[in-house]
Amino acid sequence: MKPRIDEYDEFLLSRLLDGELPADQAVTLHRRMEREPELRAAFESLARVDALLARRQADQPAVHWRQFHEKVLAAVAAQAAPAPKTIPLARWLGICAPLAAAAAIGLIVLLDRDRLQVPKDGAIPTPIRVTVNSPAEDAPGKLTVRLYRPRLNESGDTGVLRVAFSRSPQLAEAIRRQDQASQSRPTSVVVAARHRPSPPQLELLVDLLPL
């Protein structure tokens, strides 16, 4: 008899609980549980934790659904029409990424797509430009992403959305100095991650940006 159950045993128990263990492994595990009280106790306590959590399905938020529905629709009605179909940022970055990867550190790649649109509250969505500032993809270090608030151009109807990537403290400092020189400030430092955000993640960041 094994003196103690290990992490892998518990992983098997978790899979057994979900009905995911292949039949032969399930039979073997059940036989082991007959011989090993500790293993059986672990399975029973895992099942109990699961049952306690599942009981929370009955714990529902206190919501007056009709009022909530009407409140949401009223808030939506107060908005402008939804943004028309646009070129998604993912496609944009697909165009931009090869350029950025080949670029020297600090190279600014300017892309201009007037069909990428960000709505303003109560107004028809306005076209924006996107600026991507990126080092080579294989540069070491932590990745920091900055999103910059769109600026209105001279005609007052076009914003510029800058997305800056930096993988090294030196580059981050260079971007900071560049921002200082141009008196531009990022809306926020959004992500600090080991990997460059995927296009869907960036789309989400753009969605969440308080424009």
């Binding site: 029973e44 895992l46 399905q57 939506v76």
Partner: protein, 204 residues
């Protein structure tokens, strides 16, 4: 079918949502309202699981619908409206949770005190359990709250969405942008930690 295979978003709902999204983009009155009606309970419920407070959950849910409406044109696959919306509400809930943690804290009593089961017509009603069972489980539920709060965010999210909200693990993988195996591992690790931390109150 194993428990983790339960589908949340079917092909049928995808086709239905795609039609409603296109109609909303075309300016059809009421199309977005149908999307709201289809998802409002799941959106509020998910926010509630992550925030533990009905009022906060409703605020986040409303904001999620507004953001979805404003960004509808950027949705590449209208048939994936459901998962997309859930990603928005999940991220907003996690952001709100982080903000709340960095600011004032909410006590367990406050979190549990606003919970109430809704009756069939959607009106607030009585709680799910009878008084005796409430007393019996109150201490344990509080212990679970405390234990859940100590879990890493992804483990907590994976476990709550899978076990309480009934999401398929592949939907959680899509939400977290990780592999199915990573979700399984996170669910397992969350269970394991909860089991260890609740051993005293569960008597094992």
């Amino acid at each position: 079918m194993t428990r983790s295979d339960r589908p949340l978003f079917s092909e049928d709902t995808g086709e239905r949502d795609a039609a409603w999204v296109q109609a909303a983009l075309a300016g059809e009155s009421g199309a977005f309202g149908r999307l709201v009606e289809a998802y409002e309970r799941r959106v509020v419920s998910t926010a509630y699981r992550l925030l533990g407070n009905s009022d906060d959950a409703m605020d986040i849910a409303q904001e999620a619908f507004l953001r979805a409406f404003r960004s509808l044109g950027r949705l590449k696959k209208p048939g994936r409206f459901g998962p997309w919306l859930m990603r928005i509400v999940t991220n907003q809930s996690l952001n709100a949770r982080r903000s709340r943690r960095s600011g004032s804290t909410v006590t367990l009593d406050e979190r549990r005190g606003t919970a109430g089961r809704t009756s069939g017509d959607g009106e607030p009603g009585t709680t799910a359990f009878g008084p005796d069972r409430q007393v019996e489980s109150r201490e344990l539920q509080a212990a679970i709250d405390a234990a859940l709060d100590t879990l890493p965010e992804k483990q907590r999210l994976a476990l709550v969405l899978f076990t309480v909200e009934g999401w398929a693990q592949k939907d959680i993988a899509a939400l977290l942008e990780c592999s199915l195996e990573t979700v399984k591992w996170n669910v397992f690790q969350a269970r394991r930690r909860l089991r260890q931390r609740l051993a005293g109150v569960m008597g094992s």
